[in-house]
């Protein structure tokens, strides 16, 4: 966070994020504006959203978001409006299209694969008996006992 903040601070006058004069009179609409601001990335800082950013351009974006909301746009219309003008780069949650699907589905798919692999491994652990596995007599006996308990499998 350090240098990105430093960078933004150097670019901007020492003003801090959302200013009192930006706040909309309607609290519900302001809350929506804040929600949207947190998904939008400040184009000149390093990874800050426009809600936290002190850069001039973030202030412009915040005002733009509020303008669109006052004009009656829905949340997704506001995001589309801004993405059209500033590119996908300003979205902190990239669009679920094309190659980005890999990003979104990698976690669940990896979990399933890992669970599957673990299942096979665990089943193998349970069955491992035969000679050559280096079991001691004591362990051998325990294994027999174990297998006895689960005759169905």
């Amino acid at each position: 966070m350090l240098k990105r903040l430093a960078l933004c601070l150097l670019l901007a006058s020492p003003a801090f994020a959302v200013q009192p004069d930006e706040v909309l009179p309607d609290p519900a609409m302001e809350a929506r504006a804040r929600q949207i601001s947190q998904v939008l990335r400040c184009p000149v800082c390093q990874g800050e959203n426009i809600d936290e950013s002190n850069a001039e351009v973030s202030r412009d974006l915040r005002l733009l978001v509020r303008e669109r909301l006052v004009a009656g746009d829905t949340d997704s219309q506001v995001l589309d409006y801004i993405t059209d003008r500033y590119g996908e780069y300003v979205l902190f949650e990239p669009e679920k299209t094309g190659a980005n699907l890999i990003l979104y589905y990698l976690g669940p798919v990896a979990l399933l694969i890992a669970m599957g692999g673990a299942f096979v491994y665990l089943r193998g652990r349970r069955r491992e008996d035969g000679p050559g596995t280096g079991l001691s007599a004591e362990e051998e006996a325990r294994l027999k006992e174990l297998m006895k308990d689960e005759p169905g499998k």
């Binding site: 240098k3 947190q38 990874g47 936290e52 996908e88 300003v90 094309g98």
Partner: protein, 652 residues
């Protein structure tokens, strides 16, 4: 002169590291005792030399020797002493030197306390550790020499980045590095075991304390960084999913996985090759973290050095160590014979699931972190992956983990009956549901987040208590006689629950107010009446401060008086906010003062942050739990006591 001595010591350390990396390795291979014995004194010498070098740099900072390029760029005579010292590692070169110092310290510690290790294993561990040391010493000497002199020393320095002039951040890097570098021990042990071709319970017993120590340091380091962000950045955020934060979080997740899988190796002699792989990956991710931070490849705030040459050097180190270790792994992993046999429902299985969840969640964080880079290189798409993505993609794994944890922790080794197992957990479940209901009622209705997080948090805490109760045979007298490892487990798992509850309740229930406050006119924020009393300017040691005095009252009773500050550092021409916080058990009142407005008022931000402290309290509990485990009698008395494979299965 002192600086030159430091530089010279560093070069000597580099030479010693190369000797330490070669001679004992050959000795271990040929079984020459004399050659193996070189490792111990070499490790001590390497540590002393790096310490000398680090001392020389610290001396230069403390005495403000501006003939050194590094001191000139990062220090100033007016800077308070604490930050003159912490300035040593508040920059690229110095922080790498600290990295190597800690690396050498761990190596030396293995030499000093590793007397009971089999000599051959010890020689190999120290040799691998020396290779890592040599690589990074070379990196410092060839690309980032901290002792570069200036031809014409200036009168004064350029000062340290004011954001770094903070006690929380002064100690954040050393702890993080202790964690990152601590994992190098697990790595060295893993590689040594691969060379040896043998992993047994004794090996796991050796690796666990090192990993545990590294994990404790990482926990504290991450918590310090997050706490610093909370009070310093001026809006009370505590985690940003910034690439550099992720770089420290991935090794943390993998170290946590490694801790748990090493238990299975130690107690049951199973999961051996997986544990080796985890040890390699955990340190691999530390190196990736170093690469991300140092190369500036994923441009981020922490990158002191956006220098491609350094990036390539570190990438080469990364490729050599991780690639080499993985190749060795591919060649040797099949020789790791697993012994333990267990059924599908057993603690072994529970720990396997723990490992899957932690490893996959680390993978998600990793892919999210590098995705902008991948997308740009492969498809020319410029995009960003930030907090909203990570919150959605990462959280489900933690929810599953939290649901399963108390059940898994109850499991006996080898095999279990689920029905019998769950019974002692019923009271915990009831209490958890009650807490969830309570959160649902008190948090203004809107948040599922508060419900889920407080429910899961309570489930973890009460589940851990139920386990302790069960373990003591439901006899109060026996509770105090339980081994510290049991208490450590209970504390760490409860700490995790507290963190979950704190994060959820904070995010669900925080209140924010931004307004222009006139002096003497009170305003109300969620039941608190706040009055801006006065605003004054005064001079600090190396900054100018604008300080507000605000009175916070509730129902006519004075709660606290807070003094948020806005500081301007003239040397670096940079402002910082110093929020003032009234810390409470159930909520923090967080005040920030902004600019003077045209109509004579001041911009004031007020945040009410419920349960904020629980996040860091929980982290401390986790770290303390780790410490309790680390001081368990078994490690103190029997650490390294060689155990043969035949008696390696305790009847637990």
């Amino acid at each position: 002169m002192i600086a030159e001595l430091g530089h010279f010591a560093l070069i000597l350390a580099f030479c010693v590291a190369i000797v330490q990396g070669l001679v004992p390795l050959i000795g271990a291979h040929k079984n020459w005792r004399g050659w193996m014995a070189v490792a111990d004194p070499a490790a001590s010498a390497q540590f002393l030399l790096v310490a000398l070098s680090f001392g020389a740099l610290t001396y230069s900072f403390v005495t403000s020797d501006f003939s050194l390029q590094l001191v000139f760029s990062n220090s100033h005579t007016d800077k308070p002493m604490l930050y003159k010292v912490s300035g040593v590692w508040g920059n690229h070169e110095g922080s790498m030197l600290l990295w190597v110092l800690i690396l050498a310290l761990f190596g030396a510690a293995a030499a000093w306390f590793g007397g009971a290790l089999p000599p051959r294993l010890r020689a190999r561990v120290l040799a691998v550790q020396a290779w890592i040391g040599a690589a990074f010493l070379g990196f410092i000497l060839f690309t980032s020499n901290p002792f570069t002199r200036l031809a014409e020393p200036p009168f004064n320095g350029q000062d340290l980045n004011p954001l770094l002039q903070d006690p929380g951040l002064a100690f954040h890097p050393p702890f993080l590095y202790l964690g990152y570098v601590g994992l190098s021990m697990a790595f060295s042990f893993a590689v040594a075991a691969l060379i040896e071709g043998r992993v047994d319970a004794a090996w796991a017993r050796w690796v666990r304390p090192w990993t545990l120590a590294a994990w404790i340091f990482l926990t504290i380091g991450i918590a310090l960084g997050s706490w610093w962000a909370y009070y310093e950045l001026g809006w009370g955020g505590f985690w940003f999913w910034d690439p550099v934060e992720n770089a420290s979080f991935m090794p943390w997740l993998l170290a946590a996985a490694l801790l748990h899988s090493a238990i299975v190796v130690e107690k049951r002699e199973a999961l051996k090759s997986w544990t080796i792989l985890l040890a390699i990956m955990a340190f691999g991710f530390s190196l990736i973290g170093t690469f991300i931070v140092r190369s500036g490849v994923i441009t981020s705030v922490h990158s002191f050095a956006n220098d491609p040459e350094r990036g390539i050097f570190i990438l080469a180190i990364l490729a050599f160590f991780v690639g080499g270790a993985l190749t060795l792994y591919a060649a040797r992993a099949s020789s790791m014979q697993a012994k333990g046999v267990f059924s599908m429902v057993s603690r072994e299985t529970a720990l396997v699931i723990n490992n899957i969840l932690l490893a996959v969640s680390a993978l998600v964080v990793f892919v999210g972190t590098v995705w902008p880079l991948v997308a740009e290189m492969a498809w020319g798409r410029k995009l960003s992956v930030g907090a909203p993505f990570f919150e959605k993609a990462f959280t489900p794994f933690m929810i599953i983990l939290a649901i399963l944890l108390p059940i898994g922790a109850m499991m006996p080794w080898k095999r279990a009956k689920l029905g019998k197992l769950v019974r002692p957990l019923v009271p915990a479940l009831v209490l958890a549901l009650a807490c969830a209901g309570l959160a649902w009622t008190f948090e203004t209705g809107r948040s599922l987040l508060a419900l889920v997080s407080s429910g899961l948090g309570a489930w973890l805490v009460f589940g851990a208590l139920a386990e302790i109760w069960q373990r003591a045979g439901r006899t109060p007298a026996r509770i105090l006689r339980l081994p510290r490892a049991d208490w450590g487990k209970c504390t760490a798992h409860s700490g995790l629950g507290i963190v979950f509850a704190g994060i959820g309740l904070l995010m669900a229930g925080q209140v924010e107010d931004i307004r222009v406050a006139q002096i003497g006119e009170p305003f109300e924020v969620s039941g608190y009446a706040i009055t801006l009393e006065s605003v004054e300017q005064f001079d600090g040691p190396n900054y100018v401060s604008t300080t507000g005095t605000l009175k916070v009252e509730r129902d006519g009773k004075l709660i606290t008086v807070l003094h948020p500050e806005k500081r301007s550092y003239p040397v670096q021409a940079m402002p910082t906010t110093e929020a003032d916080i009234d810390n409470g058990f159930l909520r923090d009142i967080y005040l920030v003062i902004g600019d003077k407005q045209a109509n004579g008022g001041w911009a004031v931000r007020t945040y009410i942050k419920p349960f904020a402290n629980w996040i860091w309290a929980g982290c401390l509990m986790m770290a303390f739990g780790g410490l309790l485990s680390l001081t368990d009698r078994r490690y103190r008395v029997a650490a390294g006591a060689r155990r043969t494979a035949t008696n390696a299965v305790p009847a637990e």
